[in-house]
């Protein structure tokens, strides 16, 4: 167990290292990425650009720049650290990147967690219903709906839903925006309800399909036959023997998808509904090719993805005794 965790943590560190390096390299290798030219504003003087290069260290070799950027990133994450010269500062607005991300985390987490609850609950329900009624009309309808669900671009669905269900037409939901939970819990819920559902649609369809085929696979297993032979009722067979085994792969999917949504997957939903979360911050920074915020968000996203990978493995081992490390 300890060795397993240690190995995973070391692996995590290396993955993060590679990811930050690749992200950094993208902006060094790719032309047009020279931040000094852009930072100098319109009609810059050659001297002005040079000055900026020197103050920001753009003239140093890229590995030095990379090292410094990493150092600054970790500095800024240390609690109580306050040295504006050694923190990760964005090129365009000269803000402390880590603070900016921290401010926006609650919005992103609110969006992701709410949506995750919805998609997990509905996805499992959809999968179960269509598996139990496999082959019948209701199964076919659900299958078609699930297919349409996974075929819709989330941002388009968001735009359409926001306009047609929003105040100008149906008037059921408010028009985008984010209200902090601490400020107004009801408003928080009211404003997030539509984004949650829009974000969840894709996953509901996906989970429903996966779970349906898992259940239909498991039903054919010998141990399910054993359970029936024991004289257990169909409900108990389904809940205890079929569902438990069918849900194990869903756990993996859920962990990775949830991490993916936090790590940038909500970028489209946030943009469409004008929720000022991490995703929107990243989108805005990318438009201005502002490397430090992109780096910050990428590290955050990758961290969550890698972290949830480990968590998923642990949960998986708990659910499936066969792969428990002995």
């Amino acid at each position: 167990m300890g060795a397993f965790l240690a190995r995973r943590l070391i692996g995590m560190f290396f993955v993060l290292l590679v990811i930050t390096f690749v992200t950094f390299a993208i902006f060094i290798v790719v032309p047009g990425g020279d931040p000094a030219t852009r930072m100098a504003g319109k009609n810059p003087s050659e001297q002005g650009i040079q000055n900026i290069r020197e103050t920001w260290g753009f003239d140093e070799p890229f590995y030095t720049q990379y090292g410094k950027m990493m150092e600054k990133t970790f500095n800024a994450m240390r609690p109580g650290f306050d040295d504006p010269n050694n923190e990760l500062i964005s090129y365009s607005r000269r803000e402390n990147v880590v603070d900016q991300i921290k401010q926006r985390l609650p919005a992103t987490f609110s969006l992701a967690i709410g949506a995750a609850i919805i998609w997990l609950a509905f996805g499992v329900a959809v999968g179960m219903i269509s598996a139990v009624r496999a082959g019948r009309l209701s199964d076919r309808m659900i299958t078609i709906l699930a297919l349409i669900g996974i075929s819709m671009p989330v941002f388009w669905l968001g735009i359409i839903a926001r306009y047609y269900l929003g105040p100008e037409n149906a008037g059921i939901f408010p028009d985008g925006d984010y209200v902090p939970l601490t400020q107004d819990p009801i408003g928080w819920f009211y404003h997030l309800l539509l984004p949650w559902m829009v974000l969840a649609v894709l996953f509901i369809g996906f989970y429903g399909r996966v779970l349906r085929s898992n259940i239909l696979d498991t039903i054919n297993e010998d141990y399910v036959r054993t359970a029936r032979a024991k004289g257990l009722g169909p409900r108990r067979v389904l809940s205890k023997h079929v569902l438990r085994n069918s849900l194990i792969p869903i756990v993996t999917l859920f962990g990775l998808d949830f991490a993916g949504v936090i790590g940038g997957g909500a970028i489209l939903t946030e943009t469409v509904f004008e929720i000022d979360g991490v995703g929107q911050y990243a989108a805005r920074s990318i438009r201005t090719l502002d490397l430090p915020p992109i780096m910050g968000v990428t590290i955050l996203g990758a961290f969550f993805i890698v972290l949830f990978n480990v968590i998923v493995d642990l949960v998986y081992a708990y659910l499936d005794p066969r792969i428990r490390p002995t």
Binding site: A6, Y223, R225, T226, K230, G231, D320, P321
Partner: protein, 607 residues
């Protein structure tokens, strides 16, 4: 094997059954589960109730299933092929257990099996089914000795019998069984892809009137394969051996070891090794058949794969036709591939499902540079040689039955006219009547092409029929090597004795008369094999010396070698000779091959 839910503890699954039918407390049910596990012979039941199914061996899982079945004192226990996937010694344990529990619980047992030996051991009354119909129903003795049904005769006759030394009578029966050629379509359906199921039904429906006319009579019909390839009656044992004297062995294995590392931890360091093959030496003479038997996990397949160099041995040497091939690289091995080929166990996995038969058999020819024009003809000849039609050239593997696929596998192995064929359980995946055909085919081909076989099997009956000599393996060690007949009449190693005694014999009288030795426990893990003699934890003759000293493979005369501290069936004179000179001098090992038919004598001197 997969009848226990992998995510729940074994005890809980038994408790679930008890609670579903009996109004008792959970604790009481738990105690009952422990009691049941004890009754079915699981050691340490108090601890084992909390284990998960994957922590049980196959035999123990089957015991747990039986415990579950018995938990509510049923009137009838239905056991569907309860021993099919198990090794023969474990099978003997389960058979004994079912027999005992039948009495203890006073339950009726319906045992579904394809194995007539198992039936002869425990059944009282037998129903024979064919193509969905009951074709015979009789008391055990009536069925075995006075059957009314030709199909049953065929079944009884097709089994390679362990208890019959000379193939004479049995061979005749086998010939008769071979007439059946193919099992009925119904039997095939199980193997066919479900998508084709509907077509079968349609096909069957078209013939419905014919089936209504009466039970199918496959036995009396002359099959196509039979008509094409008439059998020569050629008693194998009588034919002269290839010049036994003086000819060098074709294959010689010297102190072969193959370990598979187990890696673990942060740095993936090696924490253990699977000792799959551990210091094995033997030789195979040109034209002979060496049978290689042992339970699963004994390393026989690994050994076979090392010999044809699908695996690289960890240590030791393999000499093929005077040439050391143990460490040759891929390129250097290529010309040697012509000389030795392999026939695989699984007729479904061993043929590439995406290639046509012509291409499957033709690929080795292509690799070794046979021109295209010649290839087609050669492949069609090969198809005929193995009893298939040349018209099958353009078909795909899925269009053949298991037995036919295995013939294709044999044709592929024959394509390059090899001298050595390693057959890894070539018949164990086939139905009984088809097994007999396959064995016949292999024997014919041996005569026709002067082949040398290493015949790997877990079925001692089949091995007896094809082998000149038999090697018995246990946990990576060669424990006994003997001329075929002698092994069955005069086993020296207690393990061989137990192995022979565990095989169910389809003859109720004989089964009753003979002494049964049921080995206790499972085969230990090859990762950490027992010290001394590896068989000692399960051996009934075990003494202190067995635990500490590894017995060398010793020559007991007549080409009969065994590794045991307590040899059975050895007269005093031989024993005295062996004890006097426990180690045969090295020079004997180098060049003295005994003149008898039993092949080279190869005592291995421990280092």
């Amino acid at each position: 094997m997969t009848s226990l839910n992998p995510v729940y503890r074994v005890g809980d699954q038994i408790v679930e059954q008890i609670l579903a039918h009996q109004q008792i407390s959970k604790d009481a049910a738990g105690r009952r589960a422990v009691e049941l596990l004890r009754q079915v012979g699981i050691p340490n039941p108090e601890r084992r109730v909390d284990a998960f199914p994957h922590q049980f061996s196959g035999g123990m899982r089957q015991r747990a299933m039986i415990a579950m079945g018995l938990s509510c004192n049923p009137d009838i226990l239905i056991a569907d092929e309860p021993t099919t996937a198990l090794d023969v010694t474990i099978q003997a344990q389960i058979i004994e257990l079912i027999g005992r529990l039948k009495r203890d619980f006073n339950s009726a047992v319906i045992l579904i099996t394809h194995d007539l030996g198992v039936v002869a051991e425990i059944a009282d009354e037998i129903i024979v089914m064919y193509a969905g119909r009951v074709v015979e129903r009789a008391q055990k003795r009536d069925l075995f000795y006075d059957s009314q049904m030709p199909y049953t005769w065929g079944l009884l006759g097709s089994i390679p019998r362990l208890d019959q030394p000379r193939p004479g009578a049995a061979r005749l029966d086998r010939r008769r069984a071979a007439v059946a050629d193919q099992p009925p379509a119904r039997v095939q359906v199980q193997h066919a892809l479900p998508a084709r199921l509907r077509q079968v039904r349609r096909g069957a429906a078209a013939r419905e009137p014919r089936r209504e006319a009466g039970p199918p009579r496959p036995l009396l019909a002359v099959g196509r394969g039979q008509a094409r390839a008439p059998r020569r009656d050629h008693p194998r044992r009588g034919r002269p051996r290839l010049s036994a004297n003086g000819s060098a062995p074709l294959v010689e294995v010297r102190s072969l070891r193959k370990y598979f590392p187990i890696k673990k931890g942060v740095l993936q360091r090696e924490v253990g090794r699977v000792h799959a093959v551990d210091d094995v030496s033997f030789a195979v003479r040109e034209g002979e058949t060496l049978g290689l038997v042992g339970e699963s996990g004994c390393g026989k397949s690994t050994l076979g794969r090392c010999v044809v160099r699908l695996l690289e041995p960890t240590e030791g040497e393999i000499v093929f036709d005077g040439r050391a091939i143990g460490k040759l690289g891929t390129r250097a091995l290529r010309p040697l591939r012509r000389e030795m080929q392999m026939v695989f166990q699984d007729p479904y996995a061993s043929l590439n499902p995406r290639k046509r038969v012509g291409s499957i058999i033709g690929t080795p020819l292509k690799i070794h540079g046979v021109p295209k024009a010649e290839r087609r003809q050669r492949v069609q000849e090969l198809l005929e040689t193995v009893g298939l039609s040349p018209e099958h050239y353009n078909r795909f593997p899925h269009e053949f039955s298991g037995g036919q696929r295995q013939r294709i596998g044999v044709a592929r192995a024959l394509a390059l006219r090899p001298r050595l064929i390693v057959a890894d359980e070539p018949v164990s995946a086939l139905d009984v009547s088809i097994q007999a055909q396959m064995v016949n085919l292999l024997e014919e081909l041996q005569e026709q092409f002067a082949l040398t076989y290493i015949f790997i099997a877990h079925d001692l009956g089949v091995v007896r029929h094809v082998s000149d000599r038999i090697a018995v393996m246990y946990l990576g060690k060669l424990v006994e090597l003997s001329p075929a007949e002698e092994l069955y009449t005069r086993p020296i190693m207690p393990y061989t004795e137990a192995l022979l005694s565990a095989v169910p014999i389809p003859d109720p009288d004989l089964a009753e008369r003979r002494e049964r030795i049921v080995l206790q426990g499972d085969v230990p893990s090859p990762i950490d094999p027992p010290s001394g003699c590896r068989f000692h934890p399960r051996c009934r003759y075990m003494t202190e010396v067995c635990r500490e000293v590894e017995p060398p493979l010793t020559d007991y005369g007549n080409g009969h070698l065994a590794a045991c501290h307590h040899p059975l069936n050895v007269d005093a004179e031989t024993l005295a000779r062996v004890t006097a000179a426990p180690e045969t001098p090295d020079e004997a090992r180098e060049d003295v091959l005994p003149a008898d038919t039993s092949g080279p004598s190869h005592p291995v001197t421990p280092p």
